[in-house]
């Protein structure tokens, strides 16, 4: 499997240097009921196609980055830095 993650700080790096943070999801609005929060927490799209997801560069810059990756083919479309 050949895929590298182009970290904005460190360059092209092996995905095993990163910690995977899961799908980017939108949190429920303030005042949402418990069921909406449970959905947000536990349910996943888990679609074999492109998804936005979080990666933490644990063995590098220690920065969370947002990656748009096809989880079936591992093609990466976009990477953005997310630090405040």
């Amino acid at each position: 499997m050949a895929f590298l993650i182009d970290c904005p700080n460190c360059g092209r790096r092996n995905p095993y240097e990163f910690k995977f943070g899961g799908e980017c999801k939108r949190a429920p609005d303030e005042g949402a009921d418990m069921r909406a929060w449970c959905d947000y927490l536990f349910l996943h799209d888990n679609m074999p196609g492109f998804q936005d997801e979080w990666w933490f560069h644990a063995l590098g810059c220690k920065d969370w980055i947002k990656v748009r990756r096809n989880i079936a083919t591992h093609e990466i479309r976009a990477i953005e830095e997310t630090s405040p």
């Binding site: 069921r35 959905d39 996943h44 679609m47 074999p48």
Partner: protein, 395 residues
């Protein structure tokens, strides 16, 4: 004496069935078998889009055991482990069940203490568990390095004598042949593309072989449950992750037990053929692929050589991988999903193989009676909403 059996024949699906089971892996075939044999349901079809046992059923590490953690799940896994014993004669097919014993290593005092607690809860559920010190361990596994040399030396171990292995392909064919004997239609090359849901009740499935009407539909699709979820407009609490397995050169028999290290997350056994099966953690990221990575292979090689130094020159010669649907709490999702007549047996992730007989039995009971059996009561989808997650661990 077993009778001469007719060869297994796959069927073309008919226009309507009492129960349609989506997924021709072990869980689906087992559910079909128990439904046909013990619940007297005559018209059952198992729909498989590729070939039977093509998913996780043929891609696991053949380990069966009951040394789990959560008290909700222990009786279930215990029953499943016991069911494997009589299954070869019941199915009239040799599943090569070998209760060789499972050894779980501890690499520190706190870990050993945690393992004792785990052992106690397992004993309370009636599962046979013993603790071993390094000296006893060396007697059972002479090739194991119990000295101080490894970076994480062995402090002790938990011995689970009833754990062992079952040949996974034999299990697939055993269940499939038994299903066929009881009149189940096993249809391969038939892909389910949609569900017919009428006023909250499932009435059939759309397939590549046309529409099939069904009174009840059971979903046992291994690593592909999210795709089913999209067909019925639901999300499931699963992420799909790849698990990789490697096997080594064939060697003379030297390892009589399954050896696992929960801390280092690797496990190995020597098959009857003589090669070692090297299992390990799931990949650390979500993925629908099928591949083997250098990192995982190297990781397993390092760990096995650390504790079995004699294996330093053995090669990894064969690999396979499969996808697992994992929930956050390492427990499956069984039972209903809010649509009448549609039942689930999904999200088995990392631990589906050992659970096959019991999950088949209880899925069948659920399909036939519509009532959630006591032993799988905790596996329902509702647990994610009423704060009843199962406190399970992954290894």
């Amino acid at each position: 004496m077993a009778k001469m059996q007719k060869p297994l024949q796959f069927k073309q699906p008919q226009k309507s069935y009492d129960v349609v089971i989506v997924g021709g892996g072990l869980h689906g075939l087992a559910a079909a078998y128990y439904l046909a044999r013990y619940h007297g349901i005559k018209r059952i079809a198992v729909l498989e889009r590729r070939y039977i046992g093509s998913g996780g059923s043929g891609r696991n590490t053949e380990m069966v055991r009951a040394n789990k953690r959560a008290h909700e799940t222990l009786p279930f896994y215990k029953e499943s482990l016991e069911m494997w014993d009589g299954l070869s004669s019941e199915l009239e097919w040799n599943l090569m069940v070998q209760k060789k014993g499972l050894i779980a290593l501890a690499h520190s005092d706190p870990e050993l203490a945690a393992m004792r607690m785990l052992s106690d809860s397992q004993r309370r559920a009636g599962i046979k568990i013993e603790m071993l010190n390094p000296k006893e361990l060396k007697k059972l596994v002479p090739a194991l390095d119990v000295s101080d040399r490894p970076a994480l030396p062995i402090f002790g171990a938990q011995f689970h004598p009833e754990g062992g292995t079952v040949h996974h392909d034999a299990a697939v064919w055993g269940y499939a042949k038994a299903c066929a004997r009881y009149g189940v239609d096993i249809c391969v090359g038939v892909e389910v593309t949609g569900f017919n849901i009428d006023a909250g009740k499932v009435t059939g499935v759309q397939t590549s072989a046309g529409h099939i009407a069904a009174g009840k539909v059971h979903v046992a699709v291994g690593g592909y449950s999210s795709e089913i979820g999209r067909m019925i407009g639901m999300k499931f609490p699963v992420t799909t992750i790849v698990m990789q397995v490697m096997t080594t050169d064939i060697m003379a028999p030297f390892l009589d037990y399954y050896v696992a290290s929960p801390r280092l997350h690797f496990y190995t056994q020597q098959t009857l053929k003589g090669d070692l099966i090297l299992g390990g953690p799931l990949d650390h990221f979500q993925s629908w692929g099928s591949y083997t990575t250098w990192e995982e292979s190297a990781d397993r090689a390092v760990k096995i050589v650390e504790y079995f130094p004699d294996l330093a020159h053995v090669r990894i010669v064969r690999t396979w991988s499969g996808i697992c649907d994992c929930t956050g709490d390492s427990a499956p999702v069984m039972g209903g999903c809010g649509i009448d007549g549609l039942s689930l047996d999904i999200a088995w992730g990392y631990y589906g193989f050992k659970a096959v007989p019991a999950s088949g039995k209880y899925s069948a009971e659920y399909i036939a009676t519509g009532k959630m059996p006591e032993k799988i009561r905790h596996f329902g989808l509702d647990r994610f909403y009423n704060r009843r997650l199962v406190r399970e661990i992954i290894l």
